[in-house]
């Protein structure tokens, strides 16, 4: 469990980092290293060059305004989780981050790194996709913005070019009348979820008019499903058990849960059903609380 030989660069400005990446077709960016370093040690990844971005200036920010939360590439999960302003602007961030591994990993791992690692079992890619956020990347051609739904191409595959560095993520603010919730079932506290669900709802006159759910650990990609059709037809203020069940079935129709050594496909499907209903209900309660006690 020792890495194969690799070259190591630790540039102190962004241009030099991009240049270093561009100079090699087999380079990896090292930020928090919480996913990459184990892969190196198990020799499942053997890049020729590691470009350590930890000395790049001005990338460890967590800034919030009315539009949303901006998270720099070197902001650790723990910093985002502890940021009260970010929590106020978009509460789903902290709800999800509390489920990201353990405190020691959150102290080192970066939120942006987790996004571009593009693991469908991770919490933050789903949050970005559900909220319609984006990631800013810098490459030899300059800076561009990649929409959340265009970031994830496949398992552990992002749409970044090999010479691009993600520098900032943007998570839109929670809109008025909206509520969010996050639930996951994992084998142990802090493990990758067997199934996780993030829900965003918007109410009008105490009734749900928009409802979307993001799913992690169910498909190869972070997947967002529109649950509104299951809740259509107005109905009572509080979503009925039947409506919640219908939402779960609707989600399941859009997903194709697979089995693995920790959960059969049937069990994962059950978790989609159960967690969809529970999270949707929690998001509804969250929205009610926010609108009634602003």
């Amino acid at each position: 469990m020792k890495p194969a030989p690799f070259a190591y660069a630790r540039p102190t400005d962004l241009a030099a980092a991009v240049e270093a990446l561009a100079g090699s077709t087999n380079a990896k960016v090292l930020a928090g290293g919480q996913s990459l370093v184990p892969l190196l040690s198990m020799r499942l990844a053997a890049p020729a060059l590691l470009v350590d971005i930890n000395r790049l200036p001005g990338l460890d920010h967590v800034t919030s305004d009315a539009s949303g939360v901006r998270v720099g590439a070197l902001a650790r999960h723990a910093a985002v989780l502890a940021d009260e302003e970010a929590h106020r602007v978009q509460p789903l961030l902290a709800m999800a981050l509390a489920n990201v591994a353990h405190a020691t990993i959150r102290n080192r791992g970066t939120t942006v790194g987790s996004l571009v690692h593009a693991d469908a079992a991770a919490e933050m890619p789903v949050v970005l996709a559900l909220l319609g956020g984006s990631v800013d990347v810098v490459g030899p051609g300059g800076r561009r913005t990649v929409a959340g739904d265009a970031l994830f191409l496949g398992p552990l595959e992002s749409s970044l070019a090999h010479d691009e560095i993600a520098v900032e993520a943007f998570f839109p603010a929670l809109a008025e009348g909206s509520g969010v919730a996050f639930r996951e079932v994992a084998r142990r506290h802090g493990d990758y979820a067997l199934c996780g669900v993030a829900v965003l709802v918007r109410l009008e006159d105490r009734r749900i008019v928009e409802a979307r759910a993001g799913y992690l650990s169910v498909s190869d990609l972070p997947t967002v499903v529109d649950l509104a059709p299951a809740l259509a037809g107005g109905g009572p203020e509080v979503p009925s058990d039947r409506a919640l069940e219908a939402a779960g079935e609707l989600a399941l129709a859009a997903l194709d849960p697979q089995g693995d050594i920790h959960a059969t496909a049937a069990y994962r499907a059950q978790l989609v059903r159960v967690l969809t209903g529970r999270t949707l209900r929690a998001a509804y309660d969250d929205a009610r609380r926010r609108t009634e006690q602003p």
Partner: protein, 820 residues
């Protein structure tokens, strides 16, 4: 006045060092050593056609590469079969480096020594092995089917078949008013200590001496193996066990290939060499345990009293059998627990598979046996509609029936005779502790809130303190410091504390003046090892006896000096004094000076012992029958094991929708005889329960059909975190002393883990008994996914228990054909 230390909650003296990072483990030693890495088989079953190491020698920093062809003499022979048994007719062990065949993923093929581990792993990647693939045998079903063989010359994959019986179980069952049969499964887990295996060796070219530091549970065993395999005189080999970061059984296996290859390479290269196992290696190349398939038939009366018990089980021993039949023998005998079966027959087959070897892991076959028996007790209670505790109680061996002879042979080759115990009182304590009689109220209150609760219990008896012996050497230095050496090793049990408590009491010295060394063959070359909950019983007793000898000698010498009778003397706070006249005293350090008549003085104290200062010129300076020095050595060798016991209860809450299992309360009552240090025993129980939670709810070895271990990392092998272990483990003790040793001790090391699979199966089944109804938990460990699938299976019209019971009875005759 010295307070008695035995029985006190003394804080562990070793913890200051451990908690400050000042522990010294193998990898902390030998900063100048070369590093080894091992090429391991990527295939579960293959013939080795060719090994090409030519590319390795070009790697900068590589010093040597060894394959089987480089091994000579005893090193070229298979590794020892440590514990032969007449029933082990087809025992097989591996070679230190694979000869022509590999039989599991992870088997060692080549050994590379390089400047550092990085280079060594680079070099391993460059070795090219040509394999001819053989079909692998994975799992007990494939082993029993025997359509493929692990070893060509082992028919049916059967390493051993053993039957023991007392009375006539089949006849008793046939005549019984009620009969049941059960088919049970239990999966593999592993010791997974925090520190893996590790060995450092230094060869002294000038003196021809080999020094080996290894993370083992038996330094004397490794010493004998290294000497024999490397052709060295025993006296030229020292094995030293530094701090060990956990063993749990896996490190009693010896010699591991690397424990021989490291000293071999150190001698060949004339440089110190070190091997430190990494986590993946530990999963695929050390040892696992637990996997069995069991078939139980039982006959009983209207009260649930056992009339006949007939058990057949199939034990997966992995690719080789270096540790003999210890695990299945323990299962077959300890299955009986605190009960009287009246008529008992047990038959097992130990079967080869192309997987990692199976050797004792904390509990060592007992968790499987307890699982079989306790599942049976629950099934009887369900069948009769009786309270599960009551069914157990009618079967208990009673306090006035000890010593109780089961008329079977235990793992040590000696009669299975329980020395002492009080099982009815243990059950009373457990019921009081968990609130057994009030649980239906608790359950109903929870159910009113939509919560699903279940209560389980399980009982066990554990043979501890197996022989053959341990010894101790105690030396009182002239400073008054007391140096204690015992040969068995320490893996975190707190021996330095518990053993010092024994010495402090017996010798009458301050606890702080006692220093204990374990597992160093230079200090105590006669020893067995640390396993089977035996350290306190064996070394504790030996230390007590050795301390008594030192005390007797100190009193003899002091009697002369104080001109008093030995009978009038006592040792208090490190001084020998005349009873009732405390001013007339002499420090033990001074007694040590007097015990060793000197020619040369080098300080004031030794000056007092020189030839013109002491002694009767008319007598030899060292009296006849005496030896110089205030020392004592003694050994303890019991006629048989001592039997500890315990009972656990757990309350679980299970999510009706997601099948997630949460532990609400966990209670343990425990009887390990007299307690040396209740805090250490409590810690052992806590750790055992944590490990048991892992074994019952989280851990399994996920082999695919090709024999690849799919979860060989701590990401996918789910050892419970602190968040998965119950917050408060409620403990109550009973102390029925063992009559077999001077301190009345029984072992405590494995207790916490033994009934886990049984107690969780009991609780989960209890929680699920109404919805979907009659759900039987027959396979452990169990995950939420498996429990959910089990529920669905039952909801889809799986036959209810009565029908299933009838069906099993009808087919049971067929089951009996194998292996009896």
């Amino acid at each position: 006045m010295t307070t008695r230390m035995f029985g006190e909650r003394i804080a562990r003296v070793e913890d200051d060092r451990f908690l400050r990072g000042a522990g010294r483990y193998v990898d902390d030693l030998g900063a100048d050593a070369l590093h080894a890495a091992v090429l391991r088989s990527p295939h579960a079953h293959a013939r080795i056609v060719d090994i090409d190491v030519s590319a390795v020698l070009d790697v900068d920093g590589v010093h040597a590469v060894f394959t089987y062809d480089d091994l000579q003499g005893p090193m070229a022979e298979p590794l020892p079969l440590l514990i032969p048994h007449p029933a082990l007719t087809h025992g097989r062990t591996q070679y230190a480096l694979a000869k022509d065949e590999v039989n599991h993923v992870g088997e060692a093929i080549a050994f590379v020594v390089a400047d550092d581990r990085y280079v060594a792993e680079d070099a391993v990647d460059k070795i090219v092995v040509t394999y001819e693939f053989l079909p692998p045998v994975v799992g007990l079903a494939a082993a029993r089917a025997a359509e493929r063989l692990v070893h060509d010359d082992v028919p049916g994959n059967v390493a051993a078949r053993l039957e023991q019986h007392v009375g006539d179980a089949p006849a008793a069952i046939a005549a019984a008013p009620h009969r049941l049969s059960l088919d049970l499964d239990i999966e593999r887990s592993a010791s997974t200590p925090m520190e893996g295996r590790g060995t450092l060796a230094r060869w002294d070219t000038d003196s021809g001496r080999m020094q080996v530091w290894t993370s083992t549970q038996t330094s004397t065993g490794v010493r004998a193996a290294v000497a024999a395999k490397l052709g060295l005189d025993l006296g030229h080999v020292d094995v030293i066990t530094p701090d060990v970061g956990g063993g749990f059984g896996v490190k009693i296996v010896h010699p591991w290939p690397e424990e021989l290859l490291v000293p071999l390479a150190a001698r060949a290269l004339g440089q110190p060499v070190k091997f430190i196992e990494d986590r993946r290696e530990h999963f695929i190349s050390s040892a696992h345990e637990r996997a069995q398939v069991q078939h139980v038939e039982v006959g009983f009366d209207d009260d649930g009293r056992l009339l006949g018990l007939d058990v057949a089980f199939w034990h997966d021993n992995g690719a080789y059998t270096p540790y003999g039949l210890i695990v299945p023998i323990i299962t077959s005998t300890q299955l009986l627990g605190p009960y009287k079966p009246h008529n008992y027959r047990v038959t097992f087959e130990s079967l080869y598979t192309n997987t990692v070897i199976v050797t004792p892991y904390r509990g060592a076959g007992r968790p499987q046996g307890v699982y079989a028996m306790e599942r049976t007790m629950d099934a009887i209670a369900a069948y009769l509609g009786k309270d599960r505790a009551d069914v157990r109680a009618v079967n208990f061996i009673q306090p006035d029936e000890f010593p109780f002879d089961h008329h079977l042979t235990f793992q040590d080759g000696r009669p299975l005779v329980y020395d002492s115990g009080d099982y009815p009182q243990l059950l009373d304590k457990l019921k009081a502790l968990i609130g057994w009689d009030d649980f239906e109220t608790v359950r109903a209150e929870a159910a009113a809130q939509g919560r699903r609760l279940g209560l389980g219990l399980a009982c066990y008896v554990e043979g501890t303190g197996v022989g053959p012996y341990e010894g101790a050497h105690i030396h009182v230095e002239t400073s008054g410091k007391v140096k204690v050496a015992t040969g068995l090793t320490t893996q975190g049990q707190g021996h330095q504390t518990a053993f010092a408590q024994i010495v402090a009491d017996e010798l009458g010295v301050p606890f702080e003046s006692v220093e204990v060394v374990t597992g160093d063959t230079r200090r105590m070359p006669y020893a067995v090892g640390t396993f089977a909950s035996r350290a306190a019983v064996m070394s504790g007793s030996a230390i007590h006896l050795a301390a008594r000898k030192v005390k007797e000698k100190a009193l003899r010498i002091a009697a002369d000096a104080l001109e008093a009778s030995v009978d009038d003397l006592e040792i208090v706070d490190g001084s020998v004094r005349v009873k009732g006249a405390p001013d007339s005293s002499i420090a033990l350090g001074t007694v040590a000076v007097l015990s060793n008549p000197l020619r040369y003085a080098f300080d004031e104290a030794s000056g007092a012992a020189t030839q013109f200062s002491v002694g009767d010129p008319g007598k030899p300076p060292v009296a006849e029958g005496e030896e110089p020095g205030l020392e004592g050595k003694d050994f303890y060798s019991p006629e048989r094991s001592t039997f500890a016991a315990g009972m656990h209860a757990v309350i679980v809450e299970i999510d009706p929708d997601t099948a997630e299992i949460e532990i609400l309360r966990y209670a343990v009552v425990h009887d390990c005889g007299n307690l040396i240090n209740p805090m250490i025993v409590q810690g052992q129980i806590h750790g055992g329960v944590a490990q048991g939670v892992g074994g019952a709810l989280y851990e399994r070895m996920e082999y695919d059909e090709n024999g690849q271990l799919l979860n060989a990392s701590f990401m996918d092998f789910l050892m419970p975190y602190v968040t998965e272990v119950p917050d408060g483990i409620e403990i109550d003790h009973l102390e029925t002393p063992s009559p077999l040793n001077p301190l009345g001790l029984k072992g405590a090391g494995e207790a916490g883990v033994i009934p886990s699979a049984a107690v969780f199966a009991s609780a989960i089944e209890d929680a699920e008994r109404l919805d979907p109804g009659n759900l039987a938990v027959t396979a452990m460990p169990i995950s939420p996914s498996q429990l959910f699938d089990l529920r669905e299976h039952h909801r889809r019209g799986h036959p209810v228990v009565e029908e299933a019971r009838q069906r099993r009875l009808e087919t049971s005759a067929q089951h009996r054909k194998d292996p009896s």
